[in-house]
Structure formats: C-alpha cells, structure tokens
Amino acid sequence: MNIIVCVSHVPDTTTRINVAGDAKSIDPAGVKFILNPYDELAVEEALRLRDKMKGEVTVITVGADNAKEAIRQALAMGADKGILVKGEKKDSWQVAEMLAQAIKPLNADLILLGKQSIDFDGMEIAPMLSELLDLPAATVVVGLTIDGNKATAEKEVEGGREVIEIELPCIIAAQKGLNDPRYPSLPNIMKAKQKPVQEIQGAPSAARTEVVQLTKPEKKRANKILKTDGNPTHAAHELARMLHEEAKVI
C-alpha cells in the first residue's frame, strides 16, 4: 500500500501568540514549532496500515527549510521517506495546490492528513485535495477500517457520528480519537536522520485571499470574582443572581 501523509509545522499549543510588526503575521520569536497534533494521528494510522498491509509511508509538507523538522518528526515515528515542497504559501489554496502537484505523480492508494492544522484551523486542505486530485475524501475521521478497495470511515459530526463508505484511493482527514500516536524512540530518532527527504519546488497559481490584518482578541470582561468566605451557598446564590440580573443569560 502506497500511503502519503501530508503534515504541517505549527506553533506548539502552549505557545502564546504575538502579532509581528507587519500586523499581518505572528512574531516567530520564542515560538516553538511542532508537528501538527492532528497530523500525528494521520502518521500513526499510516504506520499501522503499512505494518498490516505492507507498503511505504511518504510524508510530505509545503514550506521553507524549517518545515523539514515536521517531516523528521514523522520519520522518527516510523515513516519511510519525506518530500519537502518548497514554496511560499500565502493561503490554503496555494498549500492545497502545491500538495496536489507533488502527490499527483505518486499513485497513492491512501492520502492521510490531520483534520486541520492548529495554526489557521481552516479544515480546507482535505476537501481541496479531494477536488484537485479527483479523489473522494472523508474528514474529521475517528474510526477507519479498510477492506480491499473499500473503506468505512466514522466522521464526528455535531451530536453524533456519520458512517461513511468510501472507495480507495481516497483521502482521510484524522480527528482525535482515531488512535493514540506513538512517541518516537531514541533509536528511531537517530535512524530518521538517515532517511531520504527529497526537495521539490512548488509552483502555485495566485493566492485567492489576502490578509488585511492579524489582531489579538480583546474583550472587556466584568471580572466580578466572589470569595466564599465560609458560606459557599451564599456565594452560589449571588453568582446565580448576577447571571440572571446582570448578564441576563438565564
């Protein structure tokens, strides 16, 4: 089975985001970048399928040289090789386009990726790849079983799950709950350094959106914090009163 995993290199969840001087992007100073947590699920699923059905796992990302770190992390988990598509990405459309260009000649049986990158949170790449590569896709997937050229995917939706039947080759976007990603072992981290990472140049068409500004949300909060002072019931009643009379939410 020829499995492709698309990954991205994103700021760690514990990172505080500061806006850069251009007011359009984040200030990278002090920001730790990691393999997108949802992509870890995709890598894990790919490795399990490869080990069961034989084949190869190729990890691919779009970005500058530092994005190679995300590939190395996936290789350390156990993926076989990597492809870095070098190119400036101004929007998700360009990312999807460059990924599609790189994936098209690879004859993939299965393309896995995280349901979203935790930077722009758009959930755009899987559906866009589906259209660009003319392949079916299932997104927000928490369960996957493959039987020959058919798969059953469970998609998490509001209030429940959809059971989706899908034909291979296809695209699957992973959601938390699909599996428990492994931690790379030290020998595998060492081995990953020897695994091949090919670099190719992306050639996207024009971006379709333009950032006007990036800001930090500022919301004035009432900030009325009560103390129990030995009488939690009284504090609870006072809180309920404020929610009813001031905030008018009940």
Binding site: I26, E124, V163, L214, T215, K224, T228, A240
Partner: protein, 321 residues
C-alpha cells in the same frame, strides 16, 4: 450583490446554522437565494418558502438519499453559476466545512472559513475568523470575483423573518457522474439525548479540579439545570475521565457559546484559546491565581464540591423548574 446560502438539512429539517447564514447574508446586503440539494426535496422546499429569500434553487437526484460531499459540491457550484452568485455562504458545521472548500475550488473562488464577523472597507468584504484556536483573529479579503465563506454557528440570529413575497422555486440540472458518489454517508448515529458541545448555547465544563470521573454528576446536574452541554479540559480528557468529543480547547473544540462555565479548570493557554470568545464566562476554582479568572466575567474562588449543589438548585429555581 447576489448571495447564495446553502441549506443543510438533518432528518428533513433545515439546520439552524443555515438559518443563521441567511441572517448573515441579509446583513451583507443583496439578493439572497438558497440552495437545496437532496434526493427528496419537497418538504425542504416547503420550509424554504417561508424563509426571507428571493429564490429557492433546487438540485435533486435519487443517489443523494445518501449524502455525498463531492456530489453536493458539484451541485452547489452549478447552482451558484445559475444564480450568478457573487457570494456563497455556508454554515460552518462539520458538513459545511467539508463542502465550502470544494465549492471554492470548483468556482475558482477564494474562501474564508469560520467567519465570525463581516465588515466592509471601500466596498470590499473583510471577513474575520479566529486563528490559532482563537489566540488571534485574522481579517482577510477575497481577491477573486466569486467569494465563498463559512459562517461560525451561534453568532448570527437564526432568520425567522417571513419573505416579502413568496420566493420563486427553480430546478437546476446537474451533470453528476458516478465518481461523485464514491463517498457516501450510510448512516447518522446520534448520541442519545446529549447536546453537542460544538453547537451548545451554554456549556458547563469540568477539569482536573473535579478530581475524578465519579464526580461528573455534579457537572451534569449543573448542565441539566442550565439546559447546557458538558465539556471538559484537556487534562480531564487525557486522564480518561471524559471522551475526546467533549474536549474544549486548541486540540479539542473551539466554542462560542452565550455562557461558558469552567469548573475546576485552571485555564491553560490552549484551553483559553478554545473558549475565550464565549459571550459570558464563569469560573469556579479553588486557586484565586488561576488564569481562568483573568478572562472571567463572574466567578467564585472556592471549593466546587460545596458551590455546585446550591448553584444547581438556584439555577433550577430561576429557570422555573
């Protein structure tokens, strides 16, 4: 400006995020049409006729008895061309967020996901959406003639206005191919009687301060009193106390409810990112230095185990049951 809104249905009912998108469309200003794509469309058309829109455009095929996102994408693009739509709005539901990027690719349109506000600048639409799970917000303009947006649920009022005149109904023929149906939703399994945290108006969440899953009855009772969904912090989910589907925060759900009640949650950066756009935030925590208090509107420093029972009773009283 011609605006097309996709009407998503579940079990034959038009869903609320689609009605909210109609309100967003009217706020943008222009002629509003709606799209219905289904196998059996008659009941949906009847519902759509009472909406404040000028026209209802319908595409139908027996194969759509099982939802397929590719097939729906092709149909919605065809309807958008027919309606000469300048803007396509789709409620940012699980289905909508899968559909919108497809339509954008098909129409060679730029797309902004999960829009929380629209503004106008020199006649151009500026759409803002949260990024980094709400730690920042990005304002964008779409540079293509046709523009696609998905609108985040719970931020616009569901349109209940009646139309000035009954909307026209028009059918569109779509050149579906069998390849469009290589992915089909066979079944929707709903979790019985539970409100999903992603679409709840009120959320009561618990964290490590709840000390264990056996104490969640306190969270559930308070949620019951509010008519709320239950949520959980990453710590509570990682400890195996609660399912992933309840996790609020950067690697869980990003939510914008009217009221968010955080109980025993200290307020890690990744949690705050997921809920800080809530209209009103309440925090209950033992530690007065917990970061959650810095973004709370109301709160109590104290023991949740002592506060929750009387709070639950009082909320029940105020809500009249």
């Amino acid at each position: 400006m011609n605006i097309l809104v996709y009407l998503e249905d579940r079990n034959g009912q038009i869903r609320k995020p689609s009605l909210e998108a109609i309100s967003a469309a009217h706020a943008l200003g222009g002629t509003v049409s709606v799209a219905i794509i289904a196998a059996d469309t008659s009941a949906l058309i009847e519902q759509a006729k009472s909406l404040n829109v000028s026209s209802v455009i319908v595409a139908s095929d027996a194969r759509m008895a099982n939802y397929s996102s590719r097939a729906t994408g092709r149909a919605l693009a065809a309807i958008a061309r027919e309606a000469k739509a300048d803007v396509i709005l789709i409620g940012a539901t699980g289905r909508g967020k899968d559909l919108a990027p497809r339509v954008a690719v098909r129409l060679e349109a730029g797309y902004v996901p999960e829009v929380t506000t629209f503004a106008s600048e020199g006649g151009e639409i500026i759409a803002t959406h949260p990024v980094y799970a709400g730690k920042a917000q990005m304002s964008l303009k779409v540079t293509t003639p046709v523009k696609v947006f998905s609108t985040r649920p719970n931020l616009w009022k569901a349109s209940k206005d009646a139309p000035a005149a009954e909307p026209t109904v028009q059918n569109v023929t779509v050149d579906w191919s069998d390849a469009d149906f290589k992915e089909r939703t066979k079944e929707l399994v709903l979790s019985q009687g539970k409100i999903d945290v992603a679409e709840a108006d009120i959320i009561v969440s618990g964290g490590r301060g709840m000390r264990g899953p056996e104490n969640w009855t306190l969270i559930e009772s308070l949620a019951g009193a509010f008519g709320a969904a239950t949520g959980a912090s990453r710590a509570a989910v990682d400890a195996g106390w609660r399912p992933h589907s309840e996790q609020v925060g950067q690697t869980g759900k990003t939510v914008s409810p009217t009221l968010y009640v955080a109980v025993g949650i200290s307020g890690a950066v990744q949690h705050l990112a997921g809920m800080s756009s809530a209209k009103t935030i309440v925090a209950i925590n033992k530690d007065e230095n917990a970061p959650i208090f810095s973004i709370a509107d109301y709160g109590i420093v104290g023991d949740a185990f002592e506060i929750l029972p009387p709070l639950t009773e009082e909320i029940k009283k105020l809500r009249g049951h």
